[in-house]
């Protein structure tokens, strides 16, 4: 959306240069004028303003504060900015440090050093508002309704979150005020935000009818790609949000707002409202009896949250999941539980509401917190008056919630979000009683939104049964999950079982023995590239099972560790596997999804990625890309490989590629020259393990478990090393040997895997099946094989037609004194042997002229037949 607009924008300086440096030939300005051709409006951005800067992802521009504007020698307009970072930019694992839910509009004062603060002025999109807030401070209501407003609570320096230092805080505040004045004068089309508080509120409500459309379109556009009907199901939640913006609902809210002082009435009204809620929930309950208990708990908890703004009831509902089962003395059907629970809540609500309303009016000074309950009350009031409209209002609640909740939505697991809520409580104990409550209203409404949004999504009767069981999942994407097992997996009981567990390929060893050198090489390579901030490729080859992927993963793990300890600049890690792609071009999609979370078509993804890697991004992190099974990314034009290896050579990409494949000469063999040259010369090949290394691998895995004889391990490793040097095979043989040993132990009691067991396992795995198959074949099948041999010997060619074989066959049968069979029977036998692939046969339509050849050497057949 923004990119499209941007193309029509013209940037020009606002005012005269403030200062100009002759030597550097730069001149500084106090503002920049952004003129949009299409709408003929002008926006002026001044120093100290908060701006949106075009980012990687068109939907999510970066937030920054303008610090300096200047024109450099080459007439390029440049800007120096102070970054703010959004939640999305913070690594997933760090988000936990926050211990609370971060709404989409919250940004963090960015103190990460690595980012480039000098940007091109053309990337500025428009000015916005960023409000500094104290931790735990209530958000002003207007923020909720506005897409273009952000607020800051904490700073982020790459590792931890800190409260804003007082001077930054005041600086931000000042900048905000200044801006407020300026925008009043300069902004033509956006109504000013600095008005009297009351007015502001109503205005924001009015504006919400227009403004949030932006937000919604954005949401829509994000999701429009997923067109599957299930996605639609999820989608409907969003759509429901859309509906809210029907002006009528909003207007009514506005109309009602003057009457909000009549808060005394509320107690009984809440009661009525709750009744409605009960009714709404009740049919929902039995319709989905299969739902997990956890969900029920959540749903039980949800209704009180909507209408009531009481602290206590909130807490009860929140703690409902853990407590309800224990505290509920009446264990009845879930339906009864709901009733019971609501009853309790109702009482609580009444009390709390009176109390609350008193408190709310006694403290008019703390304006922010009061606003929310008020609006809530208006809703409640209206709902009681017009039951029919309740749904739409619930929607509006859902909307409030949804906006706040938007960022947390991606948090998929339900339990974790509830944990976060509880953490939230602990987080702000020092703030006055009121504040945690209202902040919680915003942070918890997941469930309320769920029930609210869902009811109107379709015809009310139909929805509960269909929609609700699904809702707790992420709306964005179905979380695929295999059902949990009922019983816990058994822990290994004996030494052998323990050994088997450790020998499983999936068991992750603490270290990778015998690959230290390769490890060091790869590590050094990536590390140096990371430190230099450049890009590069490395090609790693080796036969299967030599630990290529494992080593690379280990390297990445170490690097990530180092990055966390701040020894290295932070980097992103993306992995694609050629085998797990359905089509080489899907690689683009996967990379893009890893990097930005967008889901687009392959062609579009390629364009976006090319743009991403070729343009200088201000806040670009280094990216480490692992391409496993590279040879499968081969296409006829090789454009996928070409692009992949071309990106690192771009100046700004900071992309490091580790390509893994089996064949050593892959670049020479299948790649075109231009692709191979881009791949570069950094190669590494993993040699197959020698028997000593295999032995070491097995014994390192078995450390501390006395299950194998030393000689047995050696035998296995020698055998495997002689064949392929495949560590997987080695481990599999050992595992099989433990099984054989276990089986043998049932009779006697050898506690240890001996040579005999290992030999048996090896024989089992490597023995040729053919000889055995021939020996177990029926008599006539054997005679046919003999006939084929005889025919081959006669003709001297390793191929014969059935007709020729038939003659020999009949002769042989006469020698053996058997009834001579018919041609049909011969054909049947031939096709049977063909199915086992002892013979290779042609399609049977040729009948007598069908050609036959042996699939194994003649000697094998002679050997197998002679044994009889």
């Amino acid at each position: 959306m923004n990119t499209r607009q941007q193309s029509k924008l013209i940037y020009s300086w606002y005012g005269k240069p403030l200062t100009s440096d002759r030597k550097l030939r730069t001149s500084q300005y106090k503002g920049i004028l952004i003129t949009s051709e299409s709408s003929k409006t002008e926006t002026c951005v001044q120093l100290g303003d908060f701006i949106l800067v075009e980012g990687v992802n068109a939907d999510q521009p970066y937030v920054a504060q303008l610090v300096d504007l200047y024109e450099d020698g080459a007439q390029h307009k440049r800007a120096v900015v102070q970054w703010f970072c959004r939640l999305e930019e913070i690594p997933q694992n760090k988000r936990k440090l926050l211990k609370r839910e971060i709404p989409a509009q919250e940004v963090f004062f960015d103190q990460v050093l690595g980012y480039d603060t000098d940007i091109a002025a053309e990337t500025i999109i428009k000015s916005i508002m960023v409000l500094p807030l104290h931790l735990g401070e209530e958000l002003p209501i207007m923020i909720l309704n506005k897409e273009q407003t952000f607020y800051v609570r904490q700073s982020w320096d790459g590792k931890c979150f800190k409260v804003l230092s007082p001077d930054t805080f005041s600086k931000l505040k000042e900048a905000n005020k200044k801006r407020g004045v300026i925008t009043n004068s300069s902004k033509a089309f956006t109504p000013s935000d600095i008005l009297t508080p009351v007015k502001k509120e109503t205005e924001s409500v009015v504006r919400s009818a227009t403004k949030p459309k932006n937000a919604d379109m954005e949401i829509e556009s994000k999701h429009s790609t997923s067109k599957s009907s299930l996605a639609k199901e999820r989608h409907s939640q969003r759509v429901a949000n859309n509906d809210i913006k029907t002006p009528t609902a909003r207007k009514k809210l506005e109309l009602n707002s003057p009457t909000r002082s009549k808060a005394k009435l509320l107690g009984c009204e809440v009661l009525g409202l709750l009744d409605d809620d009960c009714d709404a929930i009740a049919p929902l309950e039995p319709s989905a009896p299969k739902r997990k208990v956890k969900f029920t708990g959540e749903i039980l908890g949800s209704p009180p949250k909507i209408p009531c703004s009481s602290d206590k009831s909130k807490q009860t509902s929140e703690t409902a999941e853990p407590h309800q089962r224990s505290s509920d003395t009446i264990r009845l059907s879930p339906y009864a539980k709901v009733k019971d629970f609501h009853g309790k809540d109702r009482n609580l609500d009444e009390e709390d509401d009176i109390l609350l309303s008193l408190v709310g009016y006694q403290k008019p000074s703390s304006q922010m917190p009061v606003l929310t309950p008020r609006s809530r009350r208006t809703c409640a009031q209206k709902t009681s008056a017009l039951i029919a409209e309740q749904i739409s209002l619930l929607k509006s609640h859902g909307k409030l919630a949804a906006e706040e909740d938007f960022s947390s939505v991606s948090d998929s697991s339900y339990s974790s979000s509830s944990e976060e809520e509880e953490d939230d409580d602990d987080d702000v104990p020092c703030t006055p009683e009121k504040k945690p409550k209202s902040s919680k209203i915003f942070s918890t409404p997941k469930s309320s939104r769920k029930s609210a949004v869902h009811t109107p999504a379709k015809t009310p009767k139909k929805t509960p049964s269909q929609g609700t069981p699904r809702t707790p999942r992420t709306p964005r994407n179905a979380t695929p999950e295999i059902p949990r097992r009922v019983q816990a997996a058994q822990e290994p009981a004996s030494v052998l079982e323990e050994a088997r567990l450790r020998l499983h390929v999936s068991a992750i060893p603490e270290s990778l023995p015998c690959r230290e050198e390769e490890f060091q090489d790869i590590y050094n390579f990536v590390e140096s590239k990371l430190i230099d901030g450049t890009g590069g490729c490395m090609y790693i080859s080796g036969v299967p099972g030599t630990g290529k992927t494992a080593t690379v993963h280990e390297v990445i793990r170490c690097l990530q560790q180092a990055a966390e300890n701040e020894e290295l600049p932070p980097f992103q890690f993306v992995e694609i596997n050629g085998m797990k792609l359905t089509d080489p071009h899907q690689a683009y999609v996967q990379i893009l999804e890893f990097l930005t979370g967008q889901k687009v078509t392959a062609a579009h993804a390629a364009v976006l990625l090319a743009k991403l890697f070729s343009t200088p991004g201000p806040k670009r992190k280094a990216t480490v890309l692992i391409v496993d099974e590279l040879d499968l990314l081969w296409t006829r034009k090789q454009n996928v490989m070409y692009n992949l290896f071309d990106w690192p050579t771009q100046k700004h990409s900071k992309l490091i590629i580790l390509a893994i494949a089996n064949t050593m000469d892959l670049p020479e063999r299948i790649m075109m020259n231009r692709v191979a040259s881009r791949l570069g010369l950094t190669r590494m090949s993993f040699q197959p393990y020698t028997y000593k290394q295999l032995q070491q691998i097995v014994s390192s895995r078995l450390k501390g478990v006395k299950a194998f004889e030393e000689d047995a391990v050696q035998l296995v490793s020698r055998k495997v090393a002689a064949l392929s040097g495949d560590a997987r095979r080695c481990l599999d043989i050992c595992r099989r040997a433990t099984e054989i040993c276990e089986l043998a132990r049932q009779k006697r009691a050898p506690e240890i895997v001996r040579m005999a067991h290992v030999t048996e396992a090896i024989d089992e795995m490597f023995s040729s099946p053919y000889v055995n198959a021939i020996r177990n074949a029926s008599l006539h099948e054997q005679i046919i094989l003999k006939a084929i041999l005889a025919e081959f010997r006669r003709a001297g060619v390793e191929e014969a037609t059935v007709q020729q074989i038939y003659h020999h066959y009949v002769a042989l049968c006469r020698v053996e004194g058997l009834q001579s069979p018919t041609v049909s029977e011969v054909m049947a036998i031939c096709s049977r042997l063909g199915a086992c692939r002892l013979l290779l046969v042609e399609a049977s339509t040729k009948y007598l002229h069908m050609r036959v050849r042996l699939n194994l050497s003649q000697d094998d057949v002679i050997y197998a037949l002679r044994e009889e």
Binding site: P480, A489, I508, A777, V823, A828
Partner: protein
Amino acid sequence: RHLLELLKRTTVHGESNSALVIGPRGSGKTALLNHVLKDLREMEQVRENLLENPFLSGLLQTNDKVALKEITRQLQLENVVGDKVFGSFAENLAFLLEALRKGDRSSSCPILFVLDEFDLFVHHKNQTLLYNLFDISQSAQTPVTVIGLTCRQDILELLEKRVKSRFSHRQIYLMNSFDFKQYIKIFKKQLSLPAEFPDESFAQKWNNNVQHLSEDKTVQDVLQNLFHHTKDLRSLHLLLMLASSAVTVHHPLLTAADLQEASRQHSTDSKANIVHGLSVLEICLIIAMKHLNEVYDGEPFNFQMVYNEFQKFIQRKAHSMYNFEKPVVMKAFEHLLQLELVQPLERPSARAQREFLLMKLLLDSSQIMDALQVYPNCPTDVKQWAASSLSWL
């Protein structure tokens, strides 16, 4: 058995495994698997673990796309609405992998993938499905056991090297390794009526008869013959089915003659049977072809050559044969073509004349002679012509 042990470990310990069951057709691979699964379900511990098993057959899931959809459907994952699976192939794959990656050894319930006709999965593009399944079974994800059923002995050579490396090389070979005594035993068991048969006296009589049959010399000969041909139990079932379908109210007990008759039906030569139903003219044509084959040592011939040969025969020897017009002979020849007793070497093209299309005879001379022996009302001179060698030409 070994398989049972393997599956039990997967379910109880959450270990991932892969195995192949290899054996010729009719050796009871599927039966074994079903039996094992039934046993497993009876075990208390396992049933609670909710063992799921997507069952895929290479004949039904002809490509990875279909197979993936089928897996998702059978696992009843979330993007399944009703019986349909939505999303593109790539999405599906990513989705399934994601799903399987979510789980770990101890918490998620194990899944058993059964791939029937495993050899057909091998021919899928890049063997993507197999790679992914085996990769999962080799990594710390949801415990998975992949069982492949196939009759091809050389299956491992068909696997790509990286797929092969991920396969655990656990192969279970099923062979029909029983001897004739066991074969007789199976025969008895198959024919005997179970104890819960309602009419007890009849069951008694029937079973006695079966016992008697199994000791009879002729029956043993029949069975021995079949046994020598194939050890596949399905053919035995077929034979017994044929025989027992002769049982009626008036003929309540199976006799040795029934079995012999069934065996005869079972082993007749289909092409020779067709020859019995041919007209004299068509027989003559076949004989002419046979002679041509002898003259030119199996080289292909065309209709014109056959017709000339036939003309020669008519002119010199035939007294009982009517000299047919060429179109009539042509018609008869085309009939043979339709019966696939004669096969053209190449596709008939519009340009080539029908008379000159090169053909091959799909019958052996001994078959023809056998057929002539039993052919009713065959003119003697035709028989002579058939039996004669090249000398008279």
